[in-house]
Amino acid sequence: MRPGHPLQLALGLIVWSLWLVAVYAGLSLGCLSVRPDAGLGVGSWLNELLGLLTLLTAAWLFGCAWRLWRTPPPVLAARRFVVRVGAWVHLLAAVATLFVGLPIMALPPCL
């Protein structure tokens, strides 16, 4: 998507929403289908999988934010506005992904 496209104002947080649905559904499905050994604690395959998804999503969102920051300011003021706010939206989404995903490192999955 072009940096000045108005959907940049929502894209980052759309990805965050999809990530949240994926980790919550993944946690529920993982616990129901192949329940990890309780003794593994946060070292279970489910924590690792959800953690990896979280890191990849956050990395992608940070990358998008960085790309928007590095975009030369468009001539049209409205597009400049979209690029700047879009960068912050992606950054907010990346931070939100890491913050909401933080408990994956602290809690076992299926208790």
Binding site: P6, L9, A10, L13, I14, W16, S17, L20, V23, Y24, L27, S28, L29, C31, L32, L76, A77, A78, R79, R80, F81, V82, R84, V85, W88, V89, L92, A93, A96, F99, V100, G101, L102, P103, I104, A106, L107, P108, P109, C110, L111
Partner: protein, 835 residues
């Protein structure tokens, strides 16, 4: 542009085209100012009813063991108090204010779908009356405003009481979604020339995000209500564990709506704050971009919190931690807004008049409510105070502080718009202080009542538990608050007669709604101004005069059309002239017949409900017929030299955006249904898929392929129309309509022939509901296409008016999408996992 004509004559000419009819014919008015005011007046009446119920609750709890209200009635009272305040007051009130203000702020003459606004109002009124009438009939629901199952199921609530709620609220939600669609499309597509996104008033940003939240947030509850009503009325199994359902499904569907709902109420109120504070601080808002970022962030993050209402139902700790973190995170964008408001005040030269008092009260109360919200986001604390009066106190701090206080500030601020007069500062201050003191006496104390362990929803309590004094204080406080509300209403009522004349732009505000006459004319602006900055009236204080003298755009009305600019969503540059429909009885008729559907369902008269539903469809089709090049709409396509074409003569009018936004809402409902399927499949303890799927895979696959071919054919027709080729358009449309009818009939046959037992198993109930949903959509698609063919035949659609087939195409695309998603979920997924 015209600067030679007599302004008085211009006004008369515009009034002849835009004016409301008088007498009983005024019920056919569709003007956004009238509709917005109706929403607000009706919302105020429901607020008084809800407030009265609250007073009764507080009287009962004032002393221990009071025998005034029995437990059953008490349950009805708190259920109705919550339902009335949330569904009949808060949302319609803020939507009404937005409906009234948005076109004026955007420099437009009306919203882009005026009949939809009117329809929304009538649905709201009739749905609200149905719900409230249950109180008068002694049949009010008693299961809480969230209607949890199994308490609200047929076994535990056998009467029609919950049905009043389910049908009445669904009716009201149609209104809310209609309003959401209307506002979103209007903000994106009908702004003043040059009003790019970065120049848009902050209030419009808040309403844009709120409108989208309504579009995404309300459908899960609409679906939940449909499923619960199907379970209660037709015996379908969705929430009954024994038959493969799960009551937690209801909680998910409810709170998927319920938590965003809090922000749907809060954001418009915060929009009022962001509009008023800069005016009274006499400087632009600090951090325009940050505020926009915060609004967008709040809108999204608020959808990720719903499970924090379910911390005690047995969700894995890690899952709870996700939602606990998200619940804390949402405080960040809210905090950004609070700091931006404080910075605006700090760096400005604030004037402390009555609206500012209410804003100051908002800041204090809402921040306190936000802090207890962060406390409740902590899972262990939530477990401790769950279902106690602490939660009641928190909720009222957020909702009353976050919505009522800014709303009253806004009403005081915009009163000159409604009356041309200013209210009394003396009465206004009394009203504020009584409300502020009374509110805190009621609810601050209630935090302690909750921490002392008093549960919610109990009709009385024993003496000696330490709850006597705080309850008495809360009850006295509630009466003080009620006196404050009465004082405000008295002030507003009296000002219509005794208030001094406001004059032009009495607050020296910056936004375009103050460039109208006070009160405004039915068309808002004789001529439509261009926008050169974020603060048009600060940049050009004489703008209103120039507008009234017809010195700006679209000041010709002798063609008899209601017109406003259609603009580019990003840049605000003019793209076309949107011609709007005039006054019409159709919205009222449609809502009346829909009321008949509700009442028939309530009384179990299903045949009559079916007939009324068909009549509703007929009225809505008639509504769609009077559009575009129709003789009653815009048969004459000529515009002034240099002006763009009418939207119906292009490929991109507001209807295209309206259909797209409506299908977004529809899609959320559908995906909530698919969520229910997967949820029950994985979670419901007694979900039992049959050994052999009842779905005939091959016939269903062939039906889907036929649908795919039809949609591809429709795409081809529209592509050709875009190239200006009208040849064989009519024949093509008739052919596709015929094939579509065949496809829908085939689907109906599959549905009827399947050995489903929806009353015996949730599995079959969900298959039947999903296929029924598909059938409804697939049956409407050929009907719409046939109407298009007929319009081509009559010359209402064609290369000169090519717009409508593109709108119908979206419906076909949607049918195709939901068909194949359903096929995947119902056929491929079970087979894939070996079920």
């Amino acid at each position: 542009m015209n600067d030679t004509r007599n302004p008085e004559r211009l006004h008369q000419d515009f009034e002849a085209v835009w004016g409301n009819p008088r007498g009983w014919r005024a019920l056919s008015a569709v003007n956004h100012s009238s509709i917005g005011l109706r929403f607000m007046v009706t919302g105020t009446l429901f607020f008084l009813i809800g407030g009265l119920l609250a007073m009764l609750l507080r009287v009962q709890l004032a002393r221990p063991d009071l025998p005034l209200i029995d437990p059953r009635t008490y349950s009805q009272l708190f259920t109705m108090h919550g339902s009335v305040m949330m569904f009949l007051f808060a949302v319609p009130m803020v939507e009404g204010l937005a409906v009234y203000l948005i076109p004026k702020m955007l420099g437009a003459r009306d919203l882009v779908f005026p009949r939809l606004s009117a329809f929304g109002y009538w649905c709201y009124l009739f749905g609200g009356v149905i719900l409230v009438s249950s109180l008068a009939l002694g049949l009010a629901p008693a299961g809480g405003w969230f209607m949890y199952v199994p308490l609200s199921g047929d076994a535990h609530s056998p009467g029609v009481n919950p049905d009043f709620w389910l049908l009445g609220i669904t009716f009201v939600e149609i209104s809310s979604v209609a309003g959401g669609i209307e506002l979103v499309v209007s903000i994106l597509r009908s702004r003043a020339p040059g009003m790019s996104l970065d120049r848009m008033p902050l209030f419009a940003w808040y309403i844009l995000v709120t409108g989208l939240m309504i579009v995404f947030g309300f459908p899960p509850l609409i679906l939940g209500s449909i499923l619960l009503e199907l379970e209660r009325a037709a015996g379908f199994a969705f929430f009954d564990v024994a038959r493969g359902g799960d009551p937690l499904l209801w909680q998910h569907l409810f709170w998927l709506f319920g938590h965003p709902e809090v922000y749907i109420i809060f954001l418009p109120a915060a929009g009022i704050v962001s509009t008023l504070l800069p005016v009274f601080a006499r400087r632009p808002a600090v951090g325009y971009r940050w505020l926009v970022l915060a609004v967008i962030g709040t809108g999204f993050l608020s959808f990720g919190l719903w499970v924090h209402h379910m911390f005690t139902v047995g969700i894995p700790l890690l899952g709870q931690a996700f939602f606990s973190a998200a619940s804390m995170l949402v405080a960040v964008p809210t905090g950004i807004q609070v700091f931006a408001w404080l910075a605006t005040l700090w760096t400005g030269r604030p004037l402390f008049n009555v609206p500012m008092l209410w804003l100051a009260g908002f800041l204090v109360i809402f921040v306190a409510g936000g802090l207890t919200g962060v406390m409740l986001a902590l899972v262990p604390f939530d477990w401790q105070v769950h279902d106690t009066h602490f939660v009641v106190a928190h909720m009222h701090y957020v909702l009353v502080g976050g919505m009522l206080f800014p709303l009253v500030a806004g009403l005081y601020y915009w009163l000159p718009h409604f009356s041309g007069r200013l209210p009394s500062a003396q009465l206004g201050r009394w009203g504020f202080w009584l409300t502020f003191v009374g509110f805190n006496a009621t609810f601050l104390v209630m935090h302690w009542t909750g921490l002392l362990g008093m549960p919610r929803r109990v009709y009385t309590y024993q003496a000696g538990l330490g709850w006597d004094l705080p309850n008495l204080v809360s009850s006295v406080g509630s009466f003080v608050m009620a006196m404050g509300v009465v004082m405000v209403l008295l002030d507003i009522g009296l000002h219509f007669r005794f208030g001094r004349r406001a004059g032009d732009n009495p607050w020296r505000a910056d936004s375009l709604e103050w460039a109208t006459a006070l009160p405004p004319a039915s068309y808002n602006f004789v001529s439509l101004p261009a926008c050169t900055g974020r603060h048009p009236l600060w940049e050009n204080p004489a703008l209103g005069r120039g507008i009234a003298e017809g010195r700006h755009g679209l000041s010709i009305v002798d063609h008899g059309r209601r017109e406003t600019w259609g603009s580019d969503p990003l840049t605000g540059q003019v793209r076309e002239i949107i011609h709007l429909p005039g006054n019409s009885w159709l919205p009222l008729y449609a809502a009346l017949v829909l009321t008949l559907v509700c009442l028939s369902l309530l009384n179990g008269a299903y045949a009559l409900a079916g007939v009324a539903a068909l009549a509703t469809l007929g009225i809505l089709l008639r509504w769609s017929w009077v559009n575009g090049a129709h003789p009653l709409a815009a048969p004459d396509e000529r515009t002034q030299p240099g002006d763009p074409p009418l939207h119906s003569r292009t490929f991109d009018g507001p209807g295209l955006w309206g259909m797209g936004t409506a299908l977004l809402a529809n899609g959320v409902l559908f995906f909530s249904l698919i969520f229910a399927w997967f949820y029950l499949w994985t979670v419901a303890p007694k979900w039992r898929p049959p050994a052999q799927s009842p779905l005939p895979e091959l016939p269903l696959l062939l039906d889907g392929l036929l649908l795919t071919a039809i949609v591809l054919g429709f795409h081809r027709l529209v592509r050709r129309l875009r190239r200006g080729e009208q040849r064989r358009l009519e024949a093509g449309l008739w052919t596709l309509a015929g094939l579509g009818l065949l496809q829908a009939a085939w689907l109906a046959r599959i549905l009827v022939a399947m050995p489903l037992a929806p009353a015996a198993s949730a599995h079959d109930a969900l298959i039947a509901t999903t296929l029924g949903y598909l059938l409804l959509h697939c049956a409407l698609a050929p009907l719409f296409s046939a109407l298009q063919a007929w319009r081509v035949c009559l010359g209402l659609v064609g290369e000169r008016a090519p717009y409508e087939p593109a709108v119908v195409l979206q419906w076909w695309d949607y049918c195709l999408l939901v068909f194949w998603v359903s096929y995947f979920a119902l056929v491929l997924f079970p087979r894939g996992i070996g079920a």
